[in-house]
Each structure stands twice: as C-alpha cells, then as structure tokens.
C-alpha cells in the first residue's frame, strides 16, 4: 500500500472511477432508478475477478507485485461501474454474464493489442441479445441542463487527461449537426433540438464510453472519421429505424472499424504508461508512475478504461 499518492491521481482512470461512482450514487439518489445493490456488487465482483484471472494468466506476477492490487483492476472497476449505470436487469446471472463477456473480450477479441469492441458496450449488447431480462433505459437521466453541465465538466476532465477530446468533440458535433438539420427540415421548434441534445444518456455515452482510448483509432484523422461514422449511424438508427438506444448499437457495429482505420492511418498506439515510448501523440495524458520500483516491464497488458 505504499503507493505514491500524487502519481495515483495522475491516472485518468481514477478520475473516471471517481466520476462514474458519483454519477451512480447521484442517479440512484435523485433519479429514481431501479438499481439493486446486489447487482452493482455482482458487476464489480465479476469484472474484477475476471480481470484478475485473465491478467494473471497472461502475465505471470513477479513476487513483488501484489496479486490483490493488480494494476489493471481500475480498468475492470470502470467497466463494472459503466455496466451498473447503463445496463438494467433483475437477475444477478445476467449481470455476471455481461461483466464476464465485457472483460474477457479485452483478452480474447484483440487486434494488434487493441480491443476490437468497447468492453462495456459489448457487455451491454451481449446481455440484451443473449438474455431475455436485460434492457437499457435511455431516458433514465432525463434532460436537464444542470446535468448536462455536470457531465460536460467532469467528462471534460477525463477526456482532457486521456487526450482524446477530438473523438468526443467530433461525435457530439456531428450528431448535433445531423439533429439540427433534421430539426430545421421538419420545422420543429428549437426546444425540440435542445431536448434531444441535452439527454443525459447521450452525454454520458459521448464523454465516458466512446472515449475509451484502447478501442478508438490511433491517428487523429481516423478518429474523426470513426466518431463521425458512429454519429451518423446512431442518427439513422434513431430517426429511421426508431431505436431509442441507437448510440449503443451504433458503437457496437462500428467499433471494429477502428482496426481497419488503423491500417489505413498508421499511428502510434495508446497505452496508459507515460514511460511508453510509443505514446507519442498523446502528450496530454499524464500516466501514472508505477507504485514502487517494481515497475512491470511490459505495459501493454494494462487495460484501457471503459465507462
């Protein structure tokens, strides 16, 4: 437990954990969510255990590394908090399935060391498709400017730390433009547009889910294309196919596109370590130092934060 505090708080994942758990508490406290504590506990336990098993399997621990405080556990916690916030189910088993799939996908579905799918997103989609008792509540946050500001503020901190503000910006910007076009064409009043864009679920998605640096393309141009494509598909799914949970399906469908875009625009890959030389285009992200001198040599198994 001799972790150097300052370096701990330089890890963007800790901000993310802090913000996501406050949102979870805020949502449960003020937003009348049907959240069962045992299901949240299940999500956290399953994610952490699955992560731990896979990590230990893939990277044998040195005697000095504490097996309980495996450095990749914060990522698992982020996935668990994201699942608890977004996925609704009445059954512990469904949450276990979602959490296990989410974490395992990080180890099994990899291309060039990067995740093919956003783990939380995959967990949600898997639970909704494979079981008959899971669902997503897109209206759960409501549409309130107060929440919008809160999400933008806190999300901004994380996004800025990770240095992937361009993804969020492109996604939100292009989605807003598309909705603006639709609003103008239909002739709705401005409050309709505002109502659609201040949706808490949309903001949480664009600030905490789509920004996962381990699933988005490496090069900036590729990221802009990728985020724009997700916004376009989400817009089509919502307004042509009338799917209220469009953003999640859009990300699921287009996440693998990231691998293709990486081939087209080759660029250094993101890891969470500042020492990593390959993290050249990510000067904004301040990475944590190792807890002590026993810094593991290989960094690539450190897992990306997922909302």
């Amino acid at each position: 437990m001799q972790i150097a505090q300052p370096s701990m708080f330089r890890d963007a994942r800790l901000y993310q954990i802090l913000f996501l758990s406050s949102f979870l508490l805020l949502g449960t406290g003020t937003r009348d969510w049907t959240l069962h504590p045992e299901i949240v506990a299940t999500a956290i336990a399953t994610c952490c255990i699955t992560q731990w098993i896979w990590s230990v399997r893939s990277t044998p621990l040195t005697p000095i590394t504490s097996p309980l405080l495996h450095p990749s556990l914060p990522s698992a916690l982020i996935t668990a908090l994201g699942l608890s916030m977004l996925l609704r189910t009445e059954h512990i088993s469904t949450m276990m399935l979602a959490a296990a799939i989410a974490i395992s996908s990080k180890f099994l579905l990899k291309v060039n060391g990067k995740h093919l799918f956003n783990p939380t997103n995959l967990g949600i989609v898997a639970a909704v498709v494979l079981t008959h008792d899971a669902w997503i509540s897109p209206g759960q946050w409501g549409e309130s400017s107060w929440y919008a500001l809160l999400f933008l503020g806190t999300g901004g901190v994380v996004v800025q730390r990770v240095g992937r503000w361009d993804t969020t910006g492109t996604f939100l910007g292009s989605y807003a433009l598309l909705e603006l076009g639709r609003n103008l064409w239909l002739g709705w009043t401005w409050d309709v547009l505002l109502h659609r864009l201040t949706s808490g679920s949309l903001l949480v998605f664009s600030l905490f889910m789509i920004t996962d640096p381990r699933t988005i393309p490496n090069a900036r141009v590729a990221r802009l294309v990728w985020a724009g494509a997700i916004a376009l598909l989400a817009f089509i799914l919502r307004n042509v196919y009338f799917i209220p949970t469009a953003v999640f399906w859009s990300l699921f469908a287009l996440a693998p596109l990231s691998a293709v875009l990486d081939l087209i625009w080759a660029s250094p890959r993101f890891t969470w370590q500042v020492e990593s030389l390959e993290n050249a285009d990510n000067s904004d992200a301040e990475e944590p130092k190792a807890p002590n001198n026993a810094e593991p040599e290989k960094k690539s198994y450190f897992l990306a934060p997922t909302p």
Binding site: H91, I92, S93, Q140, W141, E143, S144, L186, F242
Partner: protein, 535 residues
Amino acid sequence: MNTINNSNRKGLAFGRYAFGHSKGFRPNAKPLQVIGFILFLFISEQNSLSTSPPLATHHSSFTLHPSPFAILMKLLRTLLLSLLFTVSSLFLAAKAWAFCGFYVAKADAKLYNQASQVAIARSGNKTVLTMANDYQGEVKDFAIVVPVPVVLKKEQVEVGKPSVMAHLDAFSAPRLVEYFDPDPCQPQPMYDQMPSMAAAPSSQLAQKARGNAAELGVTIEEKFTVGEYDILILSAKESGGLETWLTQNGYRIPKGARELLKPYIRQRLKFFVAKVNLNEFEKAGYQNLRPIKMAFESPRFMLPLRLGMVNAQQAQDLLVYILSPKGRAEVANYRTVKVPSNTEIPTFVKSEFSDFYKSMFQTSYDREGRNVAFLEYAWDMANCDPCSAEPLSREELRDAGVFWIDEPQTEPSRPGFFAPRRPSPFPSSNVFITRLHVRYTRDRFPEDLVFQETNNREQFQGRYVLRHAFLGKTECAAGREYGRSLPRRFDQEAQTLARLTNWDIQKIRQKLPKVQAQAPSSWWEWVWARLGTQG
C-alpha cells in the same frame, strides 16, 4: 372558440386537435363538469368474498372455515411465524408490510377532468391503439385529427367497448388499503397466508372537397364509416394545403396549428380525421362516444402530443395503458418515475382519498420538474394484490387489442441466463400492463412521447396504507408499550402525509386519532414486551 377550448379540455387531448366542426358550431358548449370521486368502501367486502379470500384472514371480522389439515398447518405456521416475529421484532422497530390488506378505494381516471386515456397493445411492430374519449360537448361538434404512421384501411379501424377501457383504468388505478392492528395483548402473526391472488380468467364529408384536394396537395387515402364515426385518412404535401383543406371542409383549426402540421407531414405521417356520423350515432342509441381502435404495423412506438397542445392553456392529463408480452414499458425520451408508493398515511385519508391522490400527484409532479412520466402500475395481467378490480377476462383483453393472447406463453417466463427466474407466488400470463400517467404542458414536453418496451417484469403499484391502531383497553406490558408507541407512529404518518401532499402538518395533526398518554415503562417491561413473554 368555445367549442375548441371545450374540446381541448374534454376531447382526446393527445396528438390531435379536438376541434369543432363549424356547421354545428355552438357558442356555448356544455360547461365543464367536475366529476366527484366516488369512494368504493363497499368493494372491500365484495373483494374478500369473490376474488381474494386470503385477504379476509387479516381481519378478525372475516372468518373462513378451514379443514382440520388447514388448521394444523395454520398452527404450525403460526408457531413458526410467532417465533420469527418475536425474534425479529426484538431487533426491528419498523415493520415490513406484505402486499396485502384490504383494498378500500382507488384513484382512477375520473379524478382528472382533463384526462385522455389510451391503451396500446404492442408486440413486435404490431400495434393496436385504442383512444378513449371523454368528450362532453355536443356530439356533432366533435372532430379529431391524430397523426398516424401508416394509411389505415377500414378493416384496421374498429370501435371499442367503453367498458374495457374503464376496466383497464380500474384495474391499474393507485389504491388505498387498510390494516387493523390486533389487540397487542393477544399476539398473533400479522398474516398467515401468502398474499392473495386472483386466478387468471382464463358520408358525405369530403365530397365537395375532393375537387380541390389535389391542388392543395392533400390526398384522401381512405374514407369510411366505422360505428358512429366518419373517418378520413389524409396525406398531405405541405401544412398550408392541409390547413386550407381542413378549413374548407368545415373544420375549425386553432391558430398555430399550421407550424405543427409541418413536422408531421415531413415525417410522412398520415392524418386520421374522425367526426361523428349523427345518423349512425342516433341509430346505435349510445349516450357517449365509444373508443376508437386502430391496428397497424410500424416501428414507431410513440404518441404525438404536440398537436394537442396547440392552444391548451393548462396542463393535460394522459393515462397510457401499455400491454406487452415482454414486460414493463417506459418512456424513452423523458424520465419515467414511480409515483410514491407503499407509504403509511393517517387513517382519516380514507374519506378523502381522491383529494389525497390529487395533491400527492401534483406535489410529485412539481418536485420532479414537471417533465417526467409517472409509473402508476406495472403488473402481470393474470393477477393483482390487492385487486382494485377483477383482472380483465380474455375476451376483454382481446378487445383491448391483445392479439397475441392465444399464443403460448414463451418469452416472459424465460429464466435468467444461468439461474432460473425467481419463483413468484403469482400466476403469470403473456400480458404485462404498464400504466403511465403523464401531465404535460407545452413548455416541459417539447417532444412527442416515445416509448420502449423492456424486459423488466418487476411489479409495481401505487399503494397507500392505512393502519388502524388498536385503541381498546390493554392491560399487559406489551399493550402499554404499544400504547406508548402510538403517538410517535401517528406523528410519523402525519409527517409522511405532509411531505407527500404539501398539506399543512398542523391541520393534519388535528385530525389524528387521540391517544391517552401512558406512563413511561421500566426497562424490564420493555424487554418483556419485546420478548412477548408477558401479557
């Protein structure tokens, strides 16, 4: 304009204009009639006799005659429960209440004088939508325009039975239940049976207009008469043309409607226009207009609210009953919030339940920011507890649009991925009802309501509990302890009531039952009382 205003208040208040037909325009339409709320005090007895015998076991005045085996089982249960009760009451001051008690009253649609009711039965993309109509004005002034997703043919439109909508309302209404505390000196389990369950039972309109309809870009897609209604299905190219066409054909359109027709036209929605065919109406001999039912297939699962708000001055109430084979429905683009429920409130509320519910709803509505949909009921249609009305029969469900009623039950009872579904003491069916109550105004509901069905089968009901204290003479330690606990309990109930309704706490306190102050007990009396060994 009176008729228009009147129509807006009393006609179908969602996604439509209820506007006057100018040929029969009367300047002074029937004034608003406030329908008083009727308390259903007699229903508790009827209930306990006809549908839910176990309810009667909570009350000493209702006795059943069980078999010897049942008596033995009851004794065993009593013994077990007494043990459990004694142990738990030693540690727990607050009691948990099971879903039982006597149903006494309900807060149904009659409570609101501007309520519209819509039942939507939906499975996949197939939808049967029923709009009930509490229009109180002159029948010949009645006209509605509802945007619909597809062109409806005559076979797709029917007239529904008003009784079915009323039954849906009664079945799902928030309810008042009451309990009677037993004599504390004769301890007995609070309940000795599982919560009760009810068994699953088992024209001429467009003739002259046709000529210039094409010029205005309006197409009469279908024209037919169903029951007492003359119905037109219109499609339009632009809002000005549609507005002109409607005006030329004798419909009075409120100001500001034109801008609102445009988005619907551009979304390629069609317009369902209905007015009353007086001949048919008189022939049929009905007193009131019957609900209109339409069946269509569309991925859109929404209710157009905006048209209904064109010139509405006040908030309007909309009750939506969504029937689904899967589970609960919720609003996808606004928050869905449960109404406060399962709270203990002072017993005097029994005589003013309608006032209580209205105040409580208004308080919650204000507290949540006036832009949410309230969940008032979510339940499997096969049972209820306590029942505010009998579950709907298969015939009634079919009339409400449940077209899948005869299909075998598959999805709803499918278990979790690994573990089986939690065993439920209730029978289940392939129909799940969600009652949503939306009070909407133009400023807080800019967008039409979009719904989604979910796999959530957690049951919920708006339920308010009256707990009658035992006010008889008690001469044991437990009784004295009970007597001393009453003032605190009453005050707790008063505070709950004040918080829920925003009523003045002092006035509430004046109405509380009076309890004689008791001398404080010694600590050993308290222990004996908790252990239940004395008295």
